[in-house]
Symmetry: C2
Subunit: 300 residues, 2 copies
């Protein structure tokens, strides 16, 4: 998994840097207590206003706080260690017609005297457009479905639903975007199958997203459409700071703040009680955020 | 208290509207289950990019969730009712030399068969500058100290400390601003004394803040200083969405989202690992946010 994380980070940063016409800044950090990571920053360029493609490999002694957060009730902490590795990326495009995207694949393990007693794979990938293009939503979901299907055709429907459920803002009664796949903890199959899932899905990231960028990146847009994008980014911030478990647990448990919050958009707006006009493209987007649709089956 | 809330809202909105050269939008709302409020919105004008001056008077049956959030262990819910009223305001100025300000004065009561069994006053006022002007910090704190002193000279030092402790972002190791006064729950004196405190302190709001606005509102500022203000506003969002009890409890318990989130700044930025230059005014500001100072005693 550490090899996969490093390989994907390298491959994705190289491809996106070329597309964006900017050199990525790689910021290596060490964790007190064991491990560290590389925060890869994509500065503002031709396509993206900012982006982060991060890797981390961290390990050390288990704290009570960590076990509590993981919902584990081990009594004897003395010989417990954890190991976690993952790739996490987020891209905020300039053009409101190009969707924001997030992906994260991670492995977590707790050992007692060197033997794994708990382990799981988690993560997924999801798309957050400001404007709906049905063909893009279909392409994104179908790419992830095909990647999941290589392990088991039962996976995509399950993880599609978990994604819709997870990326939800109860105080807005809105989902964060048009979904994708997500798993908080996968531990119900042989370890090799979960690894294979993480490998094929992370490999599908670039082909799931790049064709959408290519199609939309030069579309003209108005000031009003930019304003709507900035408002939608406000929802992104609300979700990440209030509900996202990686963000909230990471920040509260002494994770590296700058690496965690690289997920936040570079420019954001809030306006009091903004309501899209009836029949507008903004209202169309909102209706999908309120009522998630099935995207992948449409092409079958 | 309801009369005080209504009077202060009217007075503050009138004064700020005249200063800003914009008419406030008053949005009245009703709460399902009892009561409602008036959200007063200050649109972008000569001084403020946005502002909210809200009042609410809400009441109804007590839920288990409400009692839990208040840390109350009443077993029999059947005859319990709550009553809460307060004024809450926040102003985000255009000019980065003018500080953001927040004030909130509220009363909360739980009755069993009509008799109050729990009650408290809470709130306060605090200042969040992007650039430090020591005379403004002193003026703001001294105004609040004088208002508190009318009830008891022991109050200001206590509430100044509680304010510094409350408006703190552990993941940044920064306080939100240069403080002021804050009380989560005041219930240790006769009710009349707490009401008198809420009355004099809310009356001190305009004189604590307006002279600062007048002094700073026409100061020239650079693009770099505006950028710093937008980054500081990012911290404001982080605090409000992650730690502010009014915001987090309000949003999770079905409060009116748009009225609660009117506290968020209209335009905000995040940048990866921004570090102020050594000896800069940004670094000076940051050092005060990391190490709160005593402001009021300096003038005595």
């Amino acid at each position: 998994m550490t090899q996969l994380v490093e390989k994907r980070q390298h491959q994705i940063i190289e491809t996106l840097s070329a597309l964006n016409g900017t050199e990525a800044i790689k910021d290596a950090w060490k964790r007190e207590g064991g491990g560290g990571g590389i925060t890869g920053i994509l500065p503002s360029g031709r396509v993206f206003e900012n982006g982060g493609v991060n890797s981390s490999i961290v390990y050390g002694k288990c704290s009570r706080q960590l076990l509590d957060a993981m919902g584990l009730a081990e009594e004897d902490l003395s010989s417990l260690h954890f190991f976690a590795t993952g790739i996490s990326l987020i891209l905020h495009p300039h053009n409101p017609m190009v969707p924001t995207v997030h992906a994260n694949y991670r492995y977590f393990e707790i050992t007692r005297e060197g033997c794994p007693i708990h382990w799981w794979f988690g993560g997924g990938s999801d798309l957050t457009p400001s404007y709906l293009f049905e063909e893009d939503a279909q392409h994104f979901h179908l790419s992830l479905k095909e990647a999941c299907d290589k392990t088991d055709t039962a996976l995509y429907p399950k993880l599609k639903k978990e994604c819709d459920d997870y990326f939800y803002l109860p105080h807005r009664k809105e989902h964060r975007g048009i979904g994708g796949i997500f798993a908080l903890k996968q531990q119900d199959r042989p370890l090799e199958q979960h690894f294979s899932w993480a490998s094929t899905c992370s490999d599908a990231f670039l082909p799931s997203y790049l064709p959408i960028v290519e199609r939309c990146k030069n579309m003209p847009f108005s000031e009003h459409e930019k304003r709507w994008q900035l408002l939608r980014r406000g929802r992104y911030v609300e979700f990440n700071l209030m509900y996202d478990l990686g963000t909230t647990f990471g920040l509260r448990s002494g994770g590296r703040t700058e690496s965690i919050l690289v997920s936040l958009p570079p420019t954001v707006s809030w306006e009091y009680d903004f309501q899209p006009k009836k029949g507008s493209r903004e209202e169309e987007m909102l209706s999908v955020l309120k009522h998630p649709r099935e995207w992948a089956p449409l092409l079958i």
